[in-house]
Symmetry: C2
Subunit: 640 residues, 2 copies
């Protein structure tokens, strides 16, 4: 009978070659945003130029740069530098690193980012979350008080691992892995981390000397109350004053967005006032601890501190991997949302390479993990930055600070740092988002709460992993239980879910089902059982409503792909239905699915005449055969 390439208008063209399919799939998987689309149809020289500009964005924006833009970037750069100094010292202190490392970390990485980064608004800096995760992990093996050099070395090593991983993810275009940290996970994780970090600050606020290296709520609160004797009222008073001032400045920004600079420079004001206060009143003697000696000079090289010895490799690997993902999630999400606000396209994978490179270089020049923190980036944007130059300006400010001013910051009272961190963290607990999740999606809310309570009561990485695990279970459940629905006629040619559109009518003798999602190994047994249950339900209705099905029409339009297990399921379903004298009719299999059905001979088994382009045609055809067969039966009766 030959093999027509089309019947009832259905395309039965032989499958595309393996190479073609592979190429198309790889492209969709790794290059969904088609980053090289600008290169098409260009001369070789233009391609090379554009290639360089693509990989090193500074080659693209610097030639067009002018003094008009620089004025804006200068202002923005100075503003974020004024934030970088207190935050740098605070977060280094949070990680129990020497505070100067926090300043170092705002000097080199911004320069690297300015060269390779493509976001105009991202401001580079260290973040509280990653600082604490690294500290929590590394302190399992080494306490800073025992061997500071080793401790610092492990931070650099973890940063190097983090940078290498980030670069690799970007180069192999695996950036989509970051998407597996869902918004719900991030909301809960950030909230939990903020809570934990706030509680940690009680140490500084109350002037405690002894504390715990655990981060969970129970251990921290116990440490706070067990050391009641160390509480210093002077510290607490100063802390509350600073915190009130910082929160007020945030309130001002909220009410009058134009006054954003008030909250932007508030932290440096706290530091400067704190330094003056400590210097003038000799605060140390009144029980208010200060940062201590900070030496002048720029970042020393740190390559000799990198330590891959087997004893520590497990903790640095863990710290590196977890912080790589968390800092990427923050950096990418933020870069993306600001660029979206300004209608620019950001290539997430390229951003990863930029962030990774700055961490690799950073780890060799005495910097620890940095990314694009939200607070700093928002300030940068509000301060009117125009390009990556604002990061260069910040970096230069840090250079001047390191060369001339660093010793002055040694007078900063620890309580000032604690109040800065606390104030920053309070802004990260997003009650409204959590409530929104509760209102709109209970499972997302659960994922969020698992992250929040996991971080708060177990540990930061456990909380994160539990939440990601739960989200993956959900993703796999979606995959394992794809919804099917029974279709009825709404209008002449529209067939819709009978549950959703109760007015729609069924056609006697037929059952029309709409399948969705891929049919493959995790769900194929379910799909078969569900189809058979639809059929059984239909046949077991009361006599009057009973539908003696002769045709099962499967709308394949929503089936995006199928694997071997899925095809075997179809064969089995066909066999089970054949035993009940029900025929399978397929409607509109999509390209990839049709190819698989042809190559596995399923189409040959059910016959090309059982595949239709639209449900309407399928029904018409089935109705015709139903009528003619009942005609035949009637004739048989008459003849008999």
């Amino acid at each position: 009978m030959g093999s027509p390439k089309s019947l009832h208008g259905v395309n039965f063209a032989p499958p595309r070659s393996f190479g073609t399919v592979l190429k198309a799939n790889l492209k969709e998987t790794l290059f969904p945003d088609d980053p090289f689309y600008e290169f098409k149809n260009e001369k070789l020289s233009t391609r090379i130029l554009k290639g360089i500009q693509y990989f090193v964005p500074i080659c693209q924006w610097l030639p067009k740069y002018n003094f008009g833009l620089f004025k804006f970037d200068l202002l923005a750069g100075i503003t974020i530098a004024s934030l970088a100094i207190p935050q740098g010292i605070s977060y280094a202190k949070l990680a129990e690193l020497p505070p100067i490392i926090g300043l170092y970390s705002s000097f080199v990485p911004p320069l690297i980012y300015a060269i390779f980064g493509s976001s105009k608004h991202l401001a580079v800096g260290t973040v509280a979350t990653c600082s604490l995760i690294m500290a929590e992990s590394i302190q399992q093996k080494v306490k800073p008080e025992d061997n500071m050099q080793l401790y610092v070395g492990l931070f650099y090593t973890a940063t190097l691992i983090s940078g290498l991983l980030q670069t690799a993810l970007g180069v192999f275009r695996l950036g989509f892995l970051v998407d597996f940290l869902s918004h719900s996970t991030i909301t809960g994780f950030m909230g939990g981390t903020a809570l934990v970090i706030c509680l940690q600050q009680l140490k500084g606020m109350l002037g405690l000397k002894h504390f715990t290296s655990h981060t969970d709520v129970v251990h921290v609160l116990r440490a706070v109350f067990e050391n009641r004797k160390e509480w210093t009222w002077q510290c607490a008073v100063v802390g509350v004053i600073f915190l009130t001032f910082l929160q007020l400045s945030r309130y001002v920004r909220k009410k009058k967005p134009n006054l954003f600079w008030v909250s932007a420079i508030a932290p440096i004001i706290v530091v400067v006032v704190g330094c003056l206060f400590a210097y003038l009143f000799n605060a140390e003697k009144h029980g208010i601890a200060i940062v201590g000696k900070l030496s002048k000079g720029i970042n020393p090289p740190s390559i000799h501190l990198i330590n891959f010895s087997p004893e520590y490799i497990s903790v640095v690997l863990k710290a590196g991997i977890v912080t790589a993902m968390v800092s990427l999630a923050e950096g990418i999400a933020i870069g993306r949302s600001f660029s979206m606000m300004n209608n620019e396209q950001i290539d997430g994978n390229k951003e990863m390479v930029a962030i990774g490179l700055m961490n690799i270089v950073g780890s060799l020049t005495s910097c620890y993990l940095s990314t694009g923190p939200f607070s700093k980036t928002a300030v940068n944007h509000n301060a009117g930055c125009r390009s990556q130059m604002s990061n260069v300006v910040m970096s230069m400010c840090m250079l001047l600070t390191l060369l001339f001013l660093a010793p002055l910051f040694g007078y900063t009272p620890l309580v000032a740092l604690a109040s800065i961190i606390m104030s920053a963290m309070l802004g990260l607990i997003d009650y409204e988002k959590a409530y929104h999740l509760y209102k709109t999606d209970k499972f997302d809310f659960l994922i969020c709460m698992v992250a929040f309570f996991g971080v708060a009561f177990i540990s930061m990485d456990m909380g994160l992993m539990m939440s990601v695990g739960l989200a993956l279970v959900r993703a796999l459940l979606y995959v394992a239980r794809p919804p099917t629905c029974k279709l009825g006629t709404v209008t002449n040619n529209a067939f819709r879910d009978i549950e959703q559109y109760p007015g729609s009518k069924q056609t006697p003798g037929m059952l029309i089902l709409k399948l969705g999602s891929p049919i493959y190994f995790p769900n194929s047994n379910y799909v078969r059982e569900r189809i058979l249950r639809w059929v059984r339900d239909e046949q077991s209705l009361e006599n009057s409503k009973r539908n003696e099905i002769e045709y099962l029409i499967l709308d394949f339009g929503g089936v995006t792909s199928i694997d071997i297990t899925g095809v075997e399921t179809l064969f089995e379903t066909r066999r089970s239905l054949a035993a009940k004298s029900i025929k399978i009719i397929l409607v509109n299999p999509r390209l990839g699915v049709m190819e698989k059905l042809i190559v596995t001979r399923f189409i040959d088994v059910i016959g090309k005449e059982s595949v239709f382009l639209t449900i309407e045609e399928a029904i018409e055809n089935c109705r015709f055969s139903l009528n003619s067969s009942s005609q035949t039966k009637k004739e048989d009766v008459e003849i008999a």
Copy 2:
């Protein structure tokens, strides 16, 4: 303006309550086959009776049982008993257990299965794969030659864990987890295991005394060649003769399916001939080792050997979990395929409970892990079994063997066992299936090969895990990269993929995209980028073909569900498109999706007038507004 429940016939009914949705979802997830459908609309007494019959199937079939059926089951039972004796001894030897345990394991578990099992064809017995996995895992901690009692105790413990896990999976209706072992994984894993086990038999075939406890090809071959001095030609000759005989009997079955009993009784013939030969010719003196003393008597209790001490818990847990999944996959798949052949419905979860219970009871009565092996079940089916009674008959045969004949089997030459195992394993390497995979789905083939080579060259559990991991990556890739396609008009009201149906026409001013699969956190960024790329591609065509899009029509019919991250993506996409003055139109969101869009106010933002039931209506409406707006423009020009 109020909020009409429907506009253009679209159903905007307020979302169902959380409870309703949760109940529906739980039902689909855990009870997709609606196991209790027979109970509906019945009296209480009938329900209780049916309930007991449901949970204890023997109550259902035994009352209807009669002598006519028993004749068939008697024959089948004796046939599988004749297979159970050599296989039991062989696989126990493979696990380096005392051979009598293999016989014990064919006595108690079949009785339990006969009570709780619902498959009429499944024949219970031990399997080579699981025997070797358990041995490999437990030998990491304890060598049988060092402390046989402890070694055996750990086997019972692992079996108990396996049974508990299987029962729990069944009771909590989590049987779908077994589906994550895809057909491709199982094909590769079985093939790899068969290869590894065959190579292991070289020990018996060549009469080696020293061997390795590793299972991978490299170690085993090295062990074979390093012990060249121990090779015994007498063994090899006998082994080859036995193997040839067994393979011939298989060939006979293949050619004449009616003669299946030839291959079914061949192993017991080999054993009996081997015993006679060893007894008469005093084979041991000629370097042919025999099984050794087997004592009479039925299974002793083994509860005192169960050992949960922390030192061994990790290996028994691992062995228990891996073998639980592997044996379930084999048992369920086999029960299912034979019941499908006979058009019966099997409830996978109930089967798990039955298999789990028989392993729990087994572990307390000196049996190790048993399931429904393929070879035995096929023999049972071919021998004409009619019910679970054939397992009872086999069990009784084993009882007689244990009470009277066991010592005789002590003369079995090890080489006979090796040839039996080898012959069974050669049948498990499914070249044809692998070739079929290669032909039809390269990724499935890869998953299969990873399992095969992983098992052959690394270790059995690593091979299995790598393959499952790869399959999951694929499942997640499907999820992370759902296909979208551009639709065009094929006939008046049918809109199809333009790539698949190149003749279809686009409507100027509009772009129609069909989305598929859920839109949620793992893929939402991709979906947004892909949509924007479709728009960009459309706009960047050459002048003549350029399509100035004003409307983006998204066919949501294939979107099975959406989460918060997905909805946020839609908001972002809308914002990006609004900047290009493109309006989003939604067509046919499904029930769950529509509810989520209403509750998150996305519908309010785009307006109910932008949602349509069919693409056709959407196009008509958009065309109307396009015309009237160009009309207005024209009028503007005229007035100006």
